[in-house]
Point group: C2
Chain length 295, copies 2
C-alpha cells in the first residue's frame, strides 16, 4: 500500500454532537464536519451524506456509551443502556456496515481520543497512557502497548467511587451511583451546585477545591491500579488551568512519594492534539482494522 | 529447542518466605524448596545453594516490593523502599546475574502469581485478568493480552482509597495511607481489631461485613477501570469461602447491572494453581526472557 493515497473515515459520536472527518495515511484531517446529535435516523443521514462523497478504505467509530464491544454478542456494535432513549439499542456498527462494504472499527469516544493522544499526541512513544476527559460526563481510556484496554467490555472509569469532601454537601448527579466521580465532579455538577456555569465561577470559589480533590482521588487510584507513564486530562472542565494545577498539587500530596512518578508536569498534561484527538484516534482505528492489526 | 529438555528456575520472594523451584518446558514443578526470608546474605546463599544443583536455561524472579522495574534506571533490579530494612536498596537482580550468566526475568511476586493464573490457571484463554491477593498485605496484578501490566512502575492496587464503613471505628494499619484498602482489609487488620486471627473468628462477626464491603468496593473500582474478563482472589484471607461469597454479593449489589459482567461465579474465582501459581508464573517469565519475548 506504500505510496498509495489512502482515505480513512472517522466518527466521533458524542451525546451532544457528532464529528465526522476524513483523513490521509498520516492521520491528518483533510475534511471535517460537525452536527448536533438528534434522532439516530436524522443524525446517521448526515453521516452518510458526508461519507458518500469519498472513496474510503475504512472507517473508525468512537461512540458515546455504554456500547457492546464483544464480537460474540448478539448486540455487538450496538449502543446499550444510554439515557438518550432514541439511541438505546441502536445498531450503530450494523447501520454503517449496511451502507459501506469496507472494514469498520468500533470503540468508545473516549477510547479513540485516548488512542489519538497515545499514538500521535502527548503520549507518543510511551507504553501505558491514561486519557481522562472531564466535561458533561467523565470517562477514561487506557492505551497499553499501543492497544486500547478492553476486556469484558470498555472501562467506565468516570463512575468509580470517591470519598466525599467533608464540607461538600452536594449529593451527586449520577443517575446510577449518585456520588461517584462523575456524579460529583463533572461539568454539570458546578451548575447544579451554584446555578452558574464553570466559566462564570472565579477561581477562589470552594467548588474548585472539591473538584480538585475528587479528580485527584481518582488519579491516585488510576495511578495505583494502571501504573501509567502519563495521564492526559481532556474535556471542557480541564480547560481551566487553575483547576489542573490544583489537581496536580493534590495528587502529589496524596502520592507523597509512596510511588515514584515522573515530575508532575510531565506526568499530568493536557492533550496536544486538541479537540482533534478523537478524530485522529478514529483514523488510527480505521487504519488498524484495515490492516487487521485490530482483532 | 523442540524436544530439548529445558530447565527453568523460579523465585517467589515474599516478605516472610522465599520459594525457589525448577521446572520443565510445560511449566511443571520438578523440584521446590522454601525457607524463611532472613537477611539478604543468608537468604540468597540458600537460593544459590539450591540453583547451583541445576543447569538452568533461565530464571524468573517475582519479588516483594516496591521494586525498580525501569530498565533505564540506575537502580533497576533493586528492592526499593521496603519496611524490611536489610532488604532496602538490595540489588536482587544484579546479585543473581553475578552468579548465573543466563537470562533472568524480573517482576513482583503478585505479578508472577497473576501471570501463572492467567496463562496456565483460572484465567487461561482470557484477554484481561486481574489477580488480587489478600493476606499479610493486599496486592494486585493484571495480565493484559498475555503481558504483565506495567508502566511507570508496577501497580500498587492494594493501596487504593476506599470509603470507611460508617460503623467501623478502626483507623487502619497502613504506614503510608492509614485507611487505604490494605490498611483496612488485610489479614493483620482482623487481629488488630479483635485480638484474634481470622481463623478463630466466626462468620457472624461484623468484621467480615467490613472486609467484604472494602474488598467489594475495590473490585468495583478495578472492574470500572480495567474491565477484566475475570478476577481471581488469592491469599490467605481469601481461603475463607464465606467471606468470598459475601464479597460476590456486595459486588453484584454495587454493580447493579450498570455494566454487564459474566455470571458472578465465573467472574470472581479463586486460583486453580493453588499456592504454585507464583512459581508457575516465574517459569513463564523465565521462558519469555529466554525467548526475548519479554522486553
Amino acid at each position: 500500500m506504500e505510496g498509495e493515497f489512502v482515505l480513512y473515515g472517522a466518527i466521533e459520536a458524542g451525546g451532544t454532537k457528532f464529528v465526522c472527518a476524513v483523513g490521509d495515511r498520516n492521520f491528518e484531517v483533510t475534511q471535517k464536519v460537525s452536527f448536533p446529535t438528534r434522532t439516530p435516523e436524522e443524525t446517521m443521514n448526515k453521516v452518510y451524506e458526508f461519507f458518500n462523497r469519498y472513496n474510503l478504505k475504512s472507517i473508525g467509530i468512537g461512540s458515546f456509551g455504554p456500547i457492546d464491544l464483544i464480537p460474540e454478542s448478539s448486540t455487538y456494535g450496538y449502543i446499550k443502556n444510554t439515557p438518550k432513549d432514541r439511541w438505546k439499542n441502536f445498531d450503530f456498527l450494523g447501520s454503517l456496515k449496511a451502507k459501506y462494504d469496507i472494514p469498520i472499527g468500533w470503540s468508545t469516544d473516549v477510547n479513540i481520543a485516548a488512542l489519538g493522544e497515545a499514538i500521535k499526541g502527548a503520549g507518543k512513544g510511551l507504553d501505558n497512557i491514561l486519557y481522562l476527559t472531564v466535561g458533561t460526563g467523565i470517562g477514561g481510556g487506557a492505551i497499553i502497548k499501543g492497544n486500547i484496554l478492553e476486556g469484558v467490555g470498555h472501562p467506565e472509569m468516570g463512575h468509580i467511587m470517591i470519598k466525599p469532601h467533608p464540607d461538600d454537601k452536594f449529593e451527586g448527579l449520577c443517575p446510577f451511583h449518585s456520588n461517584c466521580l462523575e456524579g460529583m465532579a463533572s461539568g454539570p455538577t458546578i451548575e447544579a451546585r451554584l446555578g452558574k456555569k464553570g466559566k462564570e465561577i472565579c477561581n477562589t470559589n470552594v467548588v474548585w477545591v472539591y473538584l480538585a480533590d475528587y479528580i485527584a482521588q481518582a488519579l491516585f487510584n488510576y495511578t495505583l491500579i494502571l501504573s501509567p507513564n502519563k495521564i492526559i486530562l481532556g474535556g471542557g472542565v480541564m480547560k481551566n488551568m487553575y483547576l489542573v494545577e490544583q489537581i496536580k498539587n493534590k495528587l502529589k500530596e496524596k502520592l507523597d512519594d509512596y510511588i515514584t512518578i515522573p515530575p508532575i508536569n510531565q506526568y499530568i498534561t493536557t492533550p496536544n492534539q486538541g479537540d482533534d484527538c478523537g478524530i485522529i484516534g478514529g483514523f488510527i482505528l480505521a487504519d488498524r482494522v484495515l490492516k487487521k492489526v485490530c482483532r
